[in-house]
Amino acid sequence: MTEYCKRGYLLVSEIGEKPSEERLRQKKVAFIECPQEIPCNACVHSCKFDAVLMDNINAPPKMDYDACTGCMRCIRVCPGLAIFMLEIKDDMGRVTMPYEFLPVPEKGETVKLLNREGKEVGEGTVTWVLPPERNEGTALVTVEMNKDLIYEVRAFRVV
């Protein structure tokens, strides 16, 4: 069994192929952290641009970063909350995360950034929020942060 199944989180060395920095600077791109073979294909069906690829329902999804338009359909439906939107804008990193807790932060608010282990790794500023009522209870929150953190931060805490 793979180590991540003992830990419950991925190490940065395990997250697989990343989009190029050039791509990240163009517009946001979906980044999937779903390495295990499970019977799920919601992401594939949600994508209208064939950017998520999968051999069969049990295979882990793969991304075609060039095909991804950043439309965010997949992140809205993924039951594993395993999809994140990444972007570099004005030399700052931006991570969009699904969020199903209260209170929902507001644009401009400062939040504590958490890594895959739940450890605090800094602070960020909320730049965009899709309110939960517009997505069946799952809010989407974009947080701006140091661009070196976009492969670390996977959750945040409202302070």
Binding site: C34, G80, F101
Partner: protein, 517 residues
């Protein structure tokens, strides 16, 4: 606050405010909730006392399967309070305790254990013989659960016979799917469930479901239940019978009870889709109030909007344990840790990742040794296990928590299958005793089908497909449907194979080898 006022996913529509009385004391309650939920919300933790040693017991399952919540309700003894709904003025009394469940003098028996070994009444208190009647009468006061009703219950009782093509027992995802597919072909159906609402396990699942996009993946369990409910209501040939409990199948006749009516249902085919119940685990003080089934906590929290406590410990890292942890966090409850005896996390990695990134530790190769507390859980001791599943000396450590959730697996609710005479086999990979059946889900007892968790513990997605297969096949065999229906049936069989083709399906496929003929 014990009652949840706000929740990120759920909206709790409280019913009309009513007052119930517990041991004479008024308790605030809301229509639509169970007596157990209302009492828990009022702060009650001890629901009953154990039969012999009068140890305190809380609720465990919250779905009427464990009997640790029994009380006297309006004069009737031994009522499972997690299955009765509040009514204004209801009188509830605790049983088997003196003066009440919270402070029970008979608790002393738990300490005097050595004086009253098992079977002591054959040896002690039998001489002199003229004193026996006195001894017997006195001892009897300490035996049995509950008191006989003081007055005759003056209610009328009725009897009713119903005929139909297919009787479906259980309206969870499996039973609902069976009813929809057989109903579509035109069969006349009785869909029976003891709950006041359809959906089975789905009604407490606030998370988005996995599975294939065609079968609602990405949709929340509660939503899937609503969709199935809407669909079922479109079929006039489906007779939905809620609050109706099936107690037996006698030569193909289904015996059931609804309120004061005994129902004799005479179907041509029967589909058993009764789901599963939770297992428990052996450790010191595992009967202490505060040790709850994971599903019981979900019911309390997600169906009735009542917080189970402040900090929980979750035992078992299967999907149920992982999802429950996430749901506890959503309700604003802390989770101290998830522990898992196996060397790896049992559930899906993505579910584990969701709670890890919120800071909940998962300790693999750990188990619970004891719960601390005198009347309710005040903490727990966990230990590390070595490769041979033995305790590593000195590894014990204390966890601060005020409740413990046991999520170590489910067992099929198979009693009706046994009683009906279906051939059963013990298959650990499928969760316990499961019936032998063919690929269309028909058991060895012709005309009796199974579907869903009762056929082997799996998932809602597979339960739904099994339901469809059993619904289609039973209707086809009754002469409904054409070639298209048969094609559909084959398609569903293929789809089921597809779902099970991944690594999580291997265990199931291994198990099925023993029971599919």
């Amino acid at each position: 606050m014990v009652r949840l006022e706000r929740h990120p996913i759920l909206e709790f529509k409280k019913g009309k405010r009513v007052t119930i009385y517990f041991d004479g004391r008024p308790v605030e309650a809301y229509e639509g909730e169970t007596v157990a939920a209302a009492l828990y919300a009022s702060g009650l933790r001890i629901f009953s006392r154990s039969f012999r040693f009068h140890r305190p017991r809380g609720f465990f399952c919250a779905i009427g399967k464990c009997s640790s919540c029994m009380m006297e309700v309006d004069g009737i003894p031994n009522v499972r309070t997690c299955k009765v709904y509040v009514r204004d003025g209801m009188q509830i009394r605790s049983q088997n305790s003196f003066p009440n469940v919270n402070t029970d003098f008979y608790e002393i028996f738990d300490r005097l254990d050595s004086l009253f070994p098992h079977g002591f009444h054959y040896k002690k208190f039998i001489k002199p013989s003229f004193m026996r009647p006195f001894f017997v009468n006195s001892l009897r006061k300490f035996t049995g659960l509950g008191n006989f009703p003081k007055e005759e219950l003056g209610e009328e009782a009725y009897k009713k016979e119903i005929e139909c093509d297919i009787a479906i027992i259980g309206a969870g995802p499996a039973g609902l799917s069976a009813a929809i597919y057989a109903g579509e072909l035109g069969a006349d159906i009785c869909l029976i469930d003891e709950n006041p609402r359809v959906g089975g396990q789905l009604i407490k699942q606030t998370h988005r479901f996995f599975g294939s996009a065609e079968h609602g993946a990405g949709t929340r369990g509660i939503k899937i239940a609503e969709q199935l409910e809407e669909e079922i209501k479109r079929y006039e040939n489906v007779n939905l019978m809620l609050r109706t409990g099936v107690f037996g199948i006698y030569n193909g006749v289904v015996g059931a009870v609804r309120d004061n009516t005994l129902l004799k249902i005479k179907p041509k085919k029967i589909i058993i889709a009764t789901g599963a119940y939770e297992r428990t685990l052996i450790f010191e003080n595992n009967d202490l109030p505060g040790v709850y089934g994971a599903g019981g906590v979900q019911t309390l929290m997600n169906v009735y909007g009542v917080r189970p406590g402040d900090t929980g410990l979750v035992v078992g890292s299967g999907n149920v344990g992982l999802i429950l942890t996430y749901q506890l966090l959503q309700a604003g409850v802390n989770v101290a840790a998830i522990i898992e005896a196996m060397p790896v996390i049992g559930g899906y990695f993505v579910h584990a990742a969701k709670v890890r990134r919120l800071g909940v530790p998962i300790y693999t190769r750990h188990t619970i040794k004891r719960a601390y507390g005198s009347k309710t859980v005040e903490g727990a001791q966990i230990i590390a296990l070595d490769d041979k599943w033995q305790e590593i000396p000195g590894s014990g450590r204390d966890i601060e928590c005020d409740f413990i959730c046991i999520s170590v697996g489910l067992s099929p609710t198979h009693e009706l299958l046994y009683q009906a005479g279906c051939e059963m086999k013990f298959v650990p990979n499928l969760g316990g005793f499961v019936p032998v059946r063919d690929k269309y889900m028909e058991t060895t007892k012709k005309g009796i089908y199974v579907a869903g968790d009762v056929a082997g513990i799996e998932e809602a997605s597979t339960a739904m497909i099994e339901g469809r297969i059993s619904g289609l096949d039973s209707a086809i065999k009754l002469g409904y449907g054409d070639e298209k229906a048969k094609e559909m049936r084959e398609k569903m069989v293929m789809e089921l194979e597809d779902m099970r083709s991944g690594p999580f399906g291997i265990r199931i496929l291994e198990g099925l080898k023993h029971v599919v003929v």
